[in-house]
């Protein structure tokens, strides 16, 4: 019988492993996905820091002795909002960086399959067309 703790812990582990692998990749899209996976894992982890319990009363009252810890839930809510904002910002920034430099590598190096100069020119043309 697989315990709840084992399931959640292994899910967090898989998410972290995938997140770190993708974050270490060179292209910005993969990095964004990696950061997202990593932050999901962190949110799950924070949630679990209040212990994994099932069917307990949500809010503390004097008559209830066994209750689910509400604080990690509040923390997770804060963390979700912050990581959501961060991810949106990272996406926009990487998109701008791609349009500006013509490279979607995190280190700004030219891409292998297409000369960077052409690509930057294409982008400049696109922008002129749009204007």
């Amino acid at each position: 019988m697989i315990s709840l703790e084992f399931l959640v812990a292994s899910a967090i582990g898989v998410l972290v492993a995938g997140g770190i692998y993708l974050t270490l990749r060179g292209r910005t899209f993969q990095v964004v996905l990696g950061l997202t996976l990593f932050s999901y894992a962190v949110n799950l982890f924070l949630f679990a820091s209040g212990r994994l319990v099932v069917g307990r009363a949500p809010i503390w009252s004097k008559s209830v002795t066994d209750y689910a810890d509400p604080l990690p839930q509040a923390l997770v809510l804060t963390a979700i909002v912050i990581t959501f904002g961060m991810t949106a910002l990272a996406v926009i920034l990487m998109l701008r960086s791609f349009l500006e430099t013509g490279s979607d590598q995190v280190d700004g190096a030219p891409c292998d399959n297409e000369p960077a100069a052409d690509r930057a020119d294409d982008r400049a043309d696109d922008r002129e067309d749009a204007a």
């Binding site: 974050t23 910005t28 990095v31 950061l35 990593f38 932050s39 962190v42 982890f45 924070l46 679990a48 820091s49 209040g50 212990r51 604080l71 990690p72 923390l75 804060t78 963390a79 912050i82 990581t83 904002g85 961060m86 910002l89 990272a90 920034l93 990487m94 701008r96 960086s97 500006e100 430099t101 995190v106 280190d107 700004g108």
Partner: protein, 505 residues
């Protein structure tokens, strides 16, 4: 209602109000926006000075948000250390703002002033809070604002560096959350003072988990402070940021140092079992290597702004050499040096900009070009800032380094500390002399076409003020070190802080 009590929250409320106001008026009435920004910074400085005067009596005051009792609610703690940092942040903000307005750098984008205010909101909050999760939130506030400021003015170099800066910091924040989750799971509290008390009760089975959490937390702060090997994000980011912004960022690495000084004695003190002073064995080697790497960078930098960025790393290393001993006199010396190195780092960035504005296509590269206007005056400013940064007399860097060396002389590892400080000083002297003679003495070939610009003297105001402040810090070294030592004694006395925050129990 006693207004003096509510002064504690003023450094958070003022920028929180000023930021949206500046955002609203900026499009149509730029001058009004600038006025709001300046007024807010002066008000913050006044509030910070008020708090500093208030904290002179050595009482640790707490401010319970929403009147929720600690440890259930969030508390703001105003002790000497926090108020010193608040004053420093307000001064840095004024310098950066003045330089940005004088050089018109704030017109490169729409949102310089609101972002600056949000940045200050995050900084002040991080200095004031007594709650670990709240510290994370304020870190995020200052980071989000710093992302905007970092790419202010745009350009491909800034965007490229900005992407790396954001990715590194998002990972840092995630690790911060993991450490927080572990600590909460182990102690059941997020209030720093309460956590410091409860950490002693953790059973032997969980000691390894506690150690992991402690070291993770310390790594995150070391990342913010740019300690080797977590320093790689800094040089590129700071060197390409708008100079006024880079000057303000000089205090951002100090937020990491501040968090270490605040959290380690309070939470990971003597009672913390396996995590007691957990970072101590790693901090000194990291600090020594940081100082060496930083000043080696000063030695080999190709641009003045790059040199300034490496000087920031080097001075953080010197600072951490003192912090790593965790004694009252070393920490007191460290606090004096912290204030000094922040101002000196900012001065270097501002002077790099002053040079770049005058040299047309040569920009701030360390190479000899044609003579440019007001070369002597700029050269003197650079000389003063370089003297302060490497720590030659008569400016405060000398006093700071002397204090650090004197205070670490009693510790077991004083040999490493002395060697590192003396060698890096030598490297710094040579590096700055090389840069200064190339830029200000030699005359190189006239560049093709681009005529060196004639620029008004006014942009030298902000770096000159920074140098004057350094001079004042040297003249007032007696009271300043006394204040630093008193702040260090207060922050190392964790039980007293716990009593002040939680009441007598």
């Amino acid at each position: 209602m006693n207004l003096a009590v509510h002064l504690a929250i003023a450094p958070i409320v003022i920028p929180a109000l000023a930021a949206p106001l500046a955002l609203l008026v900026m499009r149509r009435r730029r001058r009004l926006g600038i006025t709001i920004s300046f007024a807010s910074c002066f008000a913050m400085l006044a509030a910070a000075l008020g708090l500093l005067v208030q904290s002179r009596d050595g009482i640790i005051r707490t401010y319970e948000l929403g009147d929720w009792e600690a440890p259930f609610g969030i508390v703001l703690v105003t002790d000497r250390l926090a108020t010193i940092m608040l004053v420093l942040a307000a001064v840095m903000a004024l310098l950066a703002l003045l330089h940005a307005v004088l050089t018109k750098a704030d017109r490169d984008g729409w949102h310089f002033h609101p972002l600056l205010q949000f940045q200050l909101l995050g900084l002040n909050g991080a200095f004031l809070t007594g709650d670990l999760f709240n510290l994370f939130v304020f870190f995020e506030v200052l980071l989000i604002a710093s992302y905007g400021l970092m790419v202010h003015g745009q350009g491909s170099a800034r965007l490229k560096a900005g992407v790396q800066y954001v990715v590194v910091n998002i990972i840092g924040s995630s690790l911060f959350l993991i450490a927080l989750g572990l600590l909460y799971a182990l102690t059941g509290t997020l209030n720093m003072a309460d956590m410091g008390l409860r950490i002693a009760a953790i059973g032997p089975d969980d000691q390894w988990l506690l150690r992991v959490a402690a070291l993770l937390l310390v790594s995150v702060f070391a990342l913010k402070a740019a300690l080797v090997p977590l320093h790689l994000w800094l040089p590129r980011t700071y060197a390409v940021a708008t100079p006024a912004v880079a000057a303000l960022f000089a205090i951002m690495t100090k937020v990491g140092v501040y968090s270490l000084i605040r959290v380690v004695p309070q939470v990971l003190g003597d009672d913390a079992g396996s995590a007691a002073w957990a970072p101590a064995p790693y901090l000194l080697p990291a600090a020594v290597v940081t100082a060496v790497v930083g000043f080696a960078g000063v030695f080999v930098a190709r641009r003045l702004s790059e040199q300034a960025a490496y000087a920031i790393i080097g001075s953080t290393g010197t600072l951490m050499i003192a912090v790593a001993a965790w004694q009252v006199d070393t920490l007191g010396a460290a606090l004096y040096y912290l204030v000094h190195s922040t101002l000196a780092g900012a001065a270097l960035f501002l002077i790099a900009d002053v040079v770049a504005r005058r040299r047309a296509s040569f920009s701030d590269t360390i190479s000899s070009g044609p003579a440019f206007c007001q070369r002597q005056a700029v050269g003197l400013l650079f000389l003063a800032a370089a003297i302060a940064t490497v720590g030659l007399p008569p400016l405060s860097g000398f006093i700071g380094k002397l204090l650090i060396m004197e205070s670490v002389a009693d510790t077991a590892s004083w040999g490493w500390a002395w060697t590192a400080i003396l060698l890096t000083t030598l490297a710094g002297v040579i590096g700055f002399a090389r840069a200064g003679s190339a830029v200000f003495w030699k005359e190189g070939p006239v560049s093709d076409g681009a005529e060196p610009a004639h620029v008004s003297r006014s942009d030298m105001a902000a770096p000159a003020i920074a140098i004057l402040l350094l001079a004042a810090l040297s003249v007032a070294a007696g009271p300043a070190t006394a204040l630093g030592n008193a702040a260090a004694a207060q922050v190392l006395d964790a039980p007293a802080t716990a009593r002040a925050v939680l009441g007598e129990r």
